[in-house]
Symmetry: C2
Subunit: 205 residues, 2 copies
């Protein structure tokens, strides 16, 4: 039986997605963490092929035309997207593919690969707590923080579109819950693999 | 936050549902196992209120009229159904409610309580293995076994309607997978509880 499956993790900036994934990482088992491609400028400390694949606008738009993206969007004038190729390869190897994408990206992945997709929305316990966390990072100026809080409000309104919700009050608990969801995600069966299983089940193969 | 959630387990007779639930039972945490109501005759060894609530046809039909069933169906001339009351009470207490119901019942629960429902289909690895298990039970005569195998074929065709699939090749592995799904099921949020959370989140309370 094919074991490749997709796990989408979304949540507002500052909800602690990366921290939770890192804390859960060892217990999740083998997985492929999908790296997004973007046209935005590389920030200090970011590494190409680790944080993002950084490409120029022209290349990105060519890939769009060629149908090479599983999902993509324009945010604040920059493109962000997920290339299909590495995802398909990881799925073929039977890996769990984890996406850290936004609400819009989740909708597009669902539309294309619903049968093997499990999704979880992670949220800070309160808006106040989110604001506190964003300020504590101290990498963002006031305008960016205000923008992030605004985005958080509209993202959280879409939490109901996700299979599961994790309220990130404690990283330890949230990481455990994320491990649970990742294990459950592996129990999704693609339509293809189910059809194959049913055929074998009936002894028709 | 409300924690009440529903976990539907379906699978053909002989797929090992009861064995898996029993093996997983200790690790699932507190749950309420929904007991069905039926009009069929009590078999030797069955206990009222444990295996089923046994009622007569008249009472069952009165409860249908009164809207007291979450789901019900007629199978081989007998009624089977799930009373709403104990389910609602258990959910109110924040419990995970586990249903062992058929494909038809799953559809009805989904239709009514989709937002808090997670479902898992359990299947024996092959039709041959199922036949072997049904014969090993030796409680059923040939006609019943043939009927059960027929039903299994139509049930397994509906596996794709479920969130997750467990292939019961080893009880130990299947029980672990069931524990995982039961933990994930608790991360479902009802629409009501999500709306409340969002209000609080925005500090509107």
């Amino acid at each position: 039986m094919q074991k490749g499956a997709i796990l989408v993790l979304s949540g507002p900036s500052g909800s602690g997605k990366s921290t939770v994934i890192n804390a859960a990482s060892e217990e999740i088992g083998e997985y492929y963490f999908s790296i997004s491609t973007t046209t935005r400028a590389k920030r200090e400390g970011e590494v190409d092929g680790v944080d993002y694949f950084f490409v120029d606008r022209e290349d990105f738009e060519e890939d769009i035309k060629a149908g090479n993206f599983l999902e993509y969007a324009q945010v604040h004038g920059n493109y962000y997207g997920t290339s299909l190729k590495p995802v398909k390869e990881a799925l073929k190897e039977g890996k769990l593919v984890i996406f850290d994408i936004d609400v819009q990206g989740h909708r597009l992945v669902r539309a294309k690969m619903n049968d093997i997709t499990t999704s979880v929305f992670i949220t800070p316990p309160t808006l106040k707590e989110l604001e506190k966390r964003l300020r504590a990072r101290s990498t963002d100026d006031e305008a960016v923080i205000a923008k992030r809080l605004q985005n958080a409000k509209s993202e959280i309104a879409a939490a109901g579109e996700y299979d599961f919700t994790i309220i990130n009050d404690s990283v330890e608990v949230a990481a455990k819950q994320f491990v649970t969801v990742s294990k459950a995600a592996r129990l999704k069966q693609s339509r293809e693999s189910r059809e194959k299983f049913i055929k074998e089940w009936f002894g028709e193969e």
